[in-house]
């Protein structure tokens, strides 16, 4: 039985940053259901190497992250593997909400609302990273289908209270999360809630 080495509840709307070493697992639990967990990943000893949605999609030939999906870096290396998921699939094309993109999606009245990019900048800037480190992300527990005509959108979620996803680190990685504060679309069921992070060795 693996030992729990870190167990933390990330409050609604908050950022979270944690190192996960090769061989350790990270379980993310959607405590109250349909809470998008925006997720960036860096190689700990060289953070110019980081998760790439495009390389991951190209490598697995599918836009959805499911059990068995390997998260691939911008330089083609395997970073983490999805070892368990009680949600059928997760998103990696929907990006992260920002104050700026909210003005396009909903109107300039949303400019002062909190957003995932601000969470990422908050967490990363404490570690010497900056906006150049804002790249493609994963949205655990978020549902973004693509229709035959290309229509795409963040729609009602397929997660539920207590569902989870577990990732095994294949190299030493730094995880940066934004527990998504979006209130203008269904990605959080219009109600941002806490999530739980458990690292095991």
């Amino acid at each position: 039985m693996a030992d729990t080495i870190h167990d933390e509840v990330v409050p609604a709307r908050a950022p979270w940053l944690h190192d996960v070493r090769a061989g350790e697992t990270l379980e993310i639990i959607d405590l109250e259901g349909n809470q998008a967990v925006d997720f960036l990943l860096y190689r700990t000893d060289d953070d110019a190497e980081r998760y790439s949605a495009q390389d991951t999609i190209a490598a697995q030939g599918n836009i959805f992250l499911r059990v068995g999906s390997v998260l691939i870096s911008n330089e083609g290396q395997a970073m983490m593997r999805v070892t368990a998921s009680t949600v059928d699939y997760h998103d990696t094309i929907g990006g992260a909400c920002s104050c700026e993109s909210n003005t396009l999606r909903y109107g300039h009245h949303t400019r002062s609302q909190h957003a995932c990019v601000d969470n990422f900048l908050d967490a990363n800037s404490r570690m010497g990273r900056d906006k150049r480190d804002m790249v493609s992300n994963i949205n655990w527990f978020m549902n973004v289908p693509v229709e035959a005509d290309g229509a795409l959108g963040i729609v009602d979620g397929i997660s539920a209270p207590g569902l989870s996803v577990t990732l095994e680190a294949l190299m030493d990685v730094t995880v940066v999360v934004s527990n998504c504060p979006q209130i203008n679309n269904p990605c959080n069921g219009f109600n941002p809630t806490p999530v739980r992070m458990i690292v095991r060795r």
Partner: protein, 275 residues
């Protein structure tokens, strides 16, 4: 018997004798002297005339209002594009926002391309291809090595990420600045189960895409085989680039006004140029 390049004057004469050589993949300077001008474009309006080699790359700073025509001369080009705000390169193309804001994953005429600051950076005025890709990104050295036996930048199977790395370095930018790209001329569609379906041709020769530059940009193009190209061989052909001066997008522009999201994106771009 000494060679003609044994002394500096001989070497100078030898070097100078090469002037005027013409090859397919090269820039034409000044661009006003270029052949293959886009329809209706006067020579004096030309800003950029170049053909990107198969496996090659190029870059240019183009200002607001400029138009760019990319021509897939022989039907097997694959232009991977990066774009940065020329005045503040930490602002760059954002593929996820480009799809999400337009509620559609496929690029074509009438669509726009967004930065990560909620501004429209490029509009697609004409699209004779219909096969583009925002999902699969650039090839990298490891991928090309697996596929072709070699993926080095200096070898015969250069990868798009390395082409980007070299290109952006010439603007003082680095590995962290290589953002998710858009691939033009090679497409990917998505099946209902999420599977990627590559459209790698080869296609009919001469397909064209015309873009409008909505703010001052550093544009970077790499022309390497698509990362999902199913063919065994390293197959890619040169792409012709033409750019010319044009007016900034007016308030009554149809593309600008086609959607409420687009209207706000253009407002955000205009705001950048408020003086």
């Amino acid at each position: 018997m000494s060679s003609t390049t044994a002394d500096p004057y001989g070497a100078q004469a030898h070097a100078r004798a090469q002037a005027g050589t013409s090859v397919e993949a090269m820039p034409v300077l000044p661009a006003t002297r270029a052949a293959h001008l886009p329809p209706g474009v006067a020579p004096e309006a030309m800003l950029w005339a170049e053909t990107i080699a198969a496996g090659g790359y190029t870059s240019k700073i183009l200002n607001r209002g400029a138009r760019i025509e990319l021509t897939d001369i022989d039907g097997d080009g694959c232009v991977s594009m990066l774009a940065f705000n020329a005045a503040c390169p930490v602002e760059r193309l954002n593929v996820a926002d480009t799809m999400k804001i337009q509620w559609n994953a496929y690029l074509g005429a009438g669509r726009f391309i967004l930065s990560d600051m909620g501004r429209v950076i490029l509009s697609i005025l004409e699209d004779g291809a219909g096969t583009h890709d925002g999902f699969c990104g650039a090839s990298n050295e490891a991928a090309n090595a697996r596929k072709y036996g070699d993926g080095t930048n200096h070898g015969t199977h250069p990868n798009a990420r390395d082409r980007f790395r070299i290109a952006v370095a010439k603007y003082g930018l680095g590995r962290k600045d290589i953002h998710p790209c858009i691939n033009l001329f090679k497409g990917v569609t998505i099946d209902p189960d999420g599977a990627t379906v590559p459209q790698c041709g080869p296609f009919a020769p001469g397909r064209r895409v015309v873009l409008r530059v909505e703010m001052d940009l550093i544009l970077v193009f790499a022309n390497c085989p698509h990362v999902l190209d199913p063919r065994d061989g390293y197959s890619v052909t040169p792409v012709r680039v033409r750019a010319w001066r044009g007016p900034a997008t007016p308030p009554d522009d149809p593309l600008r006004n086609a959607t409420p999201e687009g209207q706000r994106a253009f407002l955000n771009t205009d705001d950048l140029f408020a003086r």
